[in-house]
Amino acid sequence: MTKMTLAKALNAGLRKAMEDDPKVLLMGEDVGKLGGVFRITDGLQKDFGEDRVIDSPLAESGIIGTAVGVAMRGYRPVCEIQFDGFVYPAYDQIVSQVAKLHFRTHGAVKMPMVIRIPYGGGIGAVEHHSESPEAQFAHTPGLKVVTCSNPIDGYWMIQQAIASDDPIVFLEPKRQYHADKADIDETAVPVPLFSSRVARPGADLTLLAYGPTVKTCLKVAEAAAGEGRSIEVVDLRTLSPLDLEPVYDSVRRTGRAIVVHEAHTNLGMGSEIAARITERCFYSLQAPVLRVGGFDTPYPPSRLEEEYLPDLDRVLDAVDRSLEF
């Protein structure tokens, strides 16, 4: 049992994956000596060498494009995109090549690649450093998209993602990197990668969150409990595929659901989730499925981000609207 932050847990998970399989390579900008700008790969080049922890030239398409070839040669590349807003130069390689090679070749080519992206806001950063592009990847057939919200999931999910033979976009909530510590039992049996998890049980309303908003929603549930409202919080964990059976079970009990994410609300994950809940739980719903997300503006300058990001009060406001419906 070790107490770790999310950053340390991801580092430990990467280390374990590299120990377990010599074909695992890390690629990215500044991942070597520096250990990444968030130190997620700290010390790994020193222990595994420059052939396995590869500092890339500053070209994101180049990172993902070469990782395709590395994977075709039988390796398992784990690519770090330094910040969410820098993934777009690699977008073509991810969407047109990584996502489609298995399909194009009827399975002759596998893409066991993990694309790690620190995402989300709340760190006071400049433009392009606080975005939430998950829907763009979840919309792409051939990719799988997962996101961790806490150190325990970070430790296990990164290992499970690396072990997957399908390409995975692995989203890491950067403002949680150095926030909370959790006890990690390295001998535990992890829950399956592509599964959602009830983070807090409740009876009156279901909050659906992932990545950085899980913590927000747990605080909401705590605050609402003080007012006598019992709120269930589900950590979705996997965005493509979605694991919504536990969500349907929950909504059939509570009759009310709110999806909370930092990404723009329009056509965000919340739109798809709301549609599916409506299709499956229509007669159980006491209120329309609501969405609380980032506004449909570009991510704002950092002095405005507290207003932009869904916080305790905005989610509580939505809880009121749902319960009063």
Binding site: S61, T66, G69, V109, L242
Partner: protein, 376 residues
């Protein structure tokens, strides 16, 4: 042999071993190597390869005209560039093609029908790349040059560069064209390969046209000279001279296999056909240009050379022609009788581990299809 001779330094001349008139000439840096076999026999083999490749191309164009293919990417005029390069490869080498490398595919032993199935719309070129060390056709311009570079990085990690063992040392060839040279991916591939000293031969077929845009729109300098700026050698070879392309590619492959890093070969050639069967070159280029390049035809010059020097007789040329006719019949029949995929097949090709939601979508669609059974 020095690869940093005048040509690699940026000199204007290109490497030629067989003139358009069929005259054999020598080059100070590049000699044709028949690999211990009788040179005439090897050249006859190249002739046969090029004639069969051209037949694959002309038959496929005809199949498109008859509505049997949705589209065809013509290679007419680029036979020497592709055969010269393809025949220089060793079995362990690996090829990353564009969508026009039908001649290289032929050299690697890929059945042309596997390519026709792509252009017929039966599949998307679904061959197993490891069967012939020939990756799948890539339609997004230049994307494959990064894949080649990454593959070469894997080769390095497998310890198969610079061992001195000719059966193990491996090179990777990235094909691309003059149009692709403007793409970021190609330039990133140059940088990654140079930075990691990866064993990649960047093989550019400069066929002068990127659909309607001439080479002048892509580059102010000869393309091979770009390599210098990235820190590795580049050479320009007469892409319509199969002997020169073979010699230069062989040297480039060896240079990269030895661990010297990447190398750029610009095969200076000409797209005698259209970009694809949907293109109309009469809208943007003069017929005089085509006539000029017809005089440099890659197949004619070899035929003249073989005939004039008594290295092949009528019986040989007739037998190649007959073989091409047989190939044409096989392609026509094979194309028309190609089995179609079941509509449900696409659901099972997306992931290694199928997702429950895709399984559900498949089952729903299967039930929908089944609901029509027996209905008229």
């Amino acid at each position: 042999m020095s690869l940093l001779g005048p040509t690699a330094q940026g000199g204007p001349e290109f490497i030629q071993l067989l003139t358009p008139e069929g005259q054999r000439v020598e080059h100070p840096d590049y000699a044709f190597d028949a690999g211990g076999r009788d040179e005439a026999e090897v050249v006859r083999g190249f002739y046969r390869d090029m004639v069969l490749t051209r037949r694959i191309d002309t038959e496929s164009t005809a199949l498109q005209r008859h509505g049997e293919l949705g589209i065809w990417t013509q290679l007419l005029g680029q036979e020497a560039a592709q055969i010269g390069c393809g025949r220089a490869l060793l079995p362990q080498d690996y090829v990353f093609p564009t969508y026009r490398e039908h001649g290289v595919a032929y050299c690697r032993g890929l059945d042309p029908l596997r390519i026709l199935s792509l252009f017929r719309g039966v599949d998307q070129g679904a061959w197993d790349p490891n069967e012939h060390n020939f990756a799948n056709y890539t339609i997004v311009i230049g994307a494959q040059t990064l894949h080649a570079t990454g593959y070469a990085m894997g080769v390095q990690r497998d310890g198969l560069v610079g061992t001195g063992d000719p059966d193990r040392d491996t090179s990777v060839v990235a094909f691309f064209g003059d149009g692709a040279s403007s793409q970021g991916d190609v330039n990133e591939a140059f940088i990654f390969a140079a930075s990691y000293n990866a064993p990649v031969v960047f093989f550019c077929q400069n066929n002068q046209w990127a659909i309607s845009e001439p080479i002048e729109r892509q580059s102010r300098i000869p393309l091979y000279q770009r390599a210098r700026g990235f820190g590795f050698p580049g050479v320009r070879v007469d892409g319509n001279d199969v002997l020169a392309v073979h010699a230069v590619t062989q040297a480039a492959l060896q240079y990269t296999r030895e661990g010297n890093g990447p190398m750029l070969v610009e095969a200076y050639t000409y797209r005698m056909g259209a970009h694809t069967t949907t293109d109309d070159p009469t809208r943007y280029r003069m017929s005089e240009e085509l006539e000029y390049w017809k005089l440099k035809d890659p197949i004619s010059r070899v035929r003249v050379y073989l005939t004039r020097n008594g290295l092949a007789d009528h019986a040989f040329f007739d037998s190649v022609e007959a073989e091409a006719d047989e190939l044409g019949v096989r392609l026509r029949e094979g194309c028309k009788s190609m089995p179609e995929q079941h509509p449900l097949a696409i659901f099972d090709q997306v992931y290694v581990d199928q997702t429950p939601e895709l399984t559900e979508q498949r089952d729903t669609f299967a039930a929908y299809l089944a609901s029509f059974e027996g209905a008229h």
